[in-house]
């Protein structure tokens, strides 16, 4: 059965050594493909003509839109890992959602910053309390809160389970926040809401955008797998340090026992 096969594949990966082996094999490939896609995407971005209204600033879109997509995809990845942590106690899931949080925060920050830079020439202001801006900003705050929570606890296993609960509660909440913020804005400033819908996308814009989106997604997974690998190594180092400290503590006790 293909389904059970997939499950055994994933549970095989629970062995960190196997994961490290896989990571070592696919990381160079992923990094290479990401670099190539970025080269193509950036070339297309800069060779394409600007929009007749927005001029050069439309190129911000090729960074802004993929980053915004990824900021949401990253939270979904974290939510899936959180389920893995709570339901299957999958050790890699712990590592996965812990390392995804800073990446998500980074992509969200990129989306916010580029959006702000784009907003200044187009809308005449750095920031609008528009529905989408507000909900992305809230998402950013949630990422930072989760990072802070992970940092606040010493025991990685406990930190992972507790933040998994919070990730899931947050995941249920994101649609509500999104929806409520939409609603709030349509009530209070019905006419003046400036939307991020952008221009109706022409083929000329669509292709570079799609390539950049794929490049960004691959970038995320490359960084994520690399970060997971680093986190596993970091945990091994700290475990070995603890073991060394324990050995060092035991040695004098043994000798004293012999003396007695």
């Amino acid at each position: 059965m293909p389904e059970s096969l997939a499950i055994t594949k994933i549970s095989d990966l629970a062995n960190p050594t196997r994961f490290l082996g896989l990571a070592a094999r696919i990381l160079p490939w992923m990094a290479g493909i990401t670099a190539i896609l970025f080269a193509i995407g950036l070339y297309l971005t800069f060779s394409s003509e600007g929009d007749y209204q927005q001029g050069m600033t439309v190129r911000i879109m090729y960074v802004h839109v993929p980053a915004a997509w990824l900021s949401m995809m990253c939270y979904s990845v974290m939510a899936m890992s959180a389920i893995g942590t709570l339901v299957w106690r999958h050790p890699l899931a712990d590592v996965s959602h812990k390392t995804a949080a800073p990446l998500g925060a980074a992509f969200t920050l990129i989306a916010l910053a580029t959006g702000s830079l784009w907003g200044k020439p187009m809308w005449g202001t750095w920031w609008v309390w528009d529905a989408r801006l507000t909900s992305v900003f809230v998402l950013f705050l949630m990422y930072l809160g989760l990072i802070a929570l992970n940092r606040a606890m010493d025991d990685p296993g406990k930190a992972a389970r507790v933040s998994a609960v919070l990730i899931l509660v947050g995941f249920v909440n994101i649609p509500i926040i999104k929806f409520s913020v939409d609603w709030w804005n349509t009530l209070h400033q019905p006419a003046s809401v400036i939307r991020l819908d952008g221009p109706t996308i022409d083929k000329e814009f669509l292709w570079p955008l799609l390539i950049m989106a794929v490049a960004f997604t691959l970038l995320f997974f490359t960084l994520h797998i690399a970060a997971m690998r680093n986190e596993i190594w970091r945990r091994r180092v700290s475990a070995q340090r603890r073991m060394a400290a324990r050995m060092a503590g035991h040695a004098p006790v043994k000798t004293s026992a012999k003396e007695a």
Partner: protein, 219 residues
């Protein structure tokens, strides 16, 4: 269950409990606003419902991190974890007690603050009603944060940071229902009913999430 409710209520009302402090903090926050924006009564009456709501939100967060922490310190949390009742139900009861001790005083104090803010009678009534319906949701959301705080050496501030983004929908609909009662074109019922729905929703999600977090933080 009733015993637990009464016990938590007594603890929250007696010295060292957060009930009075919460109301005091609420009044202080609201009293500080006119110093910031100036004593313009028209302006105050316009932003009044929002200020009262934000004050209530902040003071609801104030006592949250103690919700399970005190139980952990005196060991009763372990007993709660061991008993046969579903843990989510126990958490729900604890939330109710916490709300009766900390949330309800805020609701009762809100008309007075509404008078300070030069709000009309209708606006005061609407704000009180929305607070009555909305503050339980804050407690239920906060229960998850409080359960997480049990695992933290110093939880307080972090809990507020984690809980505040989740509480945004409650604030939005609470304030918009309060305004809708005053301003003519907007109907009062839709935002109010959505607020009720959010409270019901979190009455389910909050205790379940908090119970899950408590089980996982237990050593």
């Amino acid at each position: 269950m009733t015993a637990l409710l009464l016990r938590d209520l007594k603890l929250s009302v007696r010295a060292g409990g957060g009930a009075l402090i919460g109301v005091l903090f609420f009044m202080t926050v609201v009293a500080v606003i006119p110093f910031g924006v100036g004593p313009d009564l028209n302006l105050l009456s316009r932003i009044g419902p929002a200020i009262v709501w934000i004050g209530a939100l902040l003071s609801a967060l104030l006592g949250l991190d103690r919700m399970f922490q005190t139980d952990r310190e005196d060991g009763s949390l372990d007993l709660i974890l061991m008993q046969e009742h579903p843990l989510a139900l126990t958490v729900l009861i604890k939330c109710l007690a916490h709300w009766l001790g900390n949330g309800l005083p805020l609701v009762i104090a809100s008309p007075l603050l509404g008078l300070f803010m030069n709000m009309s009678e209708v606006a005061i009534g609407a704000t009180m009603l929305t607070l009555l319906v909305g503050t339980p949701a804050l407690t239920f959301i906060g229960a998850v944060g409080a359960a997480v705080a049990v695992a933290l050496p110093r939880g307080g501030l972090l809990v507020s940071i984690l809980v505040l983004p989740l509480a945004i929908p409650v604030l939005i609909f609470g304030v918009s229902a309060s305004y809708a009662a005053v301003e003519d074109p907007a109907p009062f019922m839709p935002p109010f009913l959505i607020l009720v729905a959010i409270t019901m929703f979190f009455a389910v999600i909050g205790p379940i999430g908090a119970a899950l977090a408590l089980r996982n933080t237990a050593d």
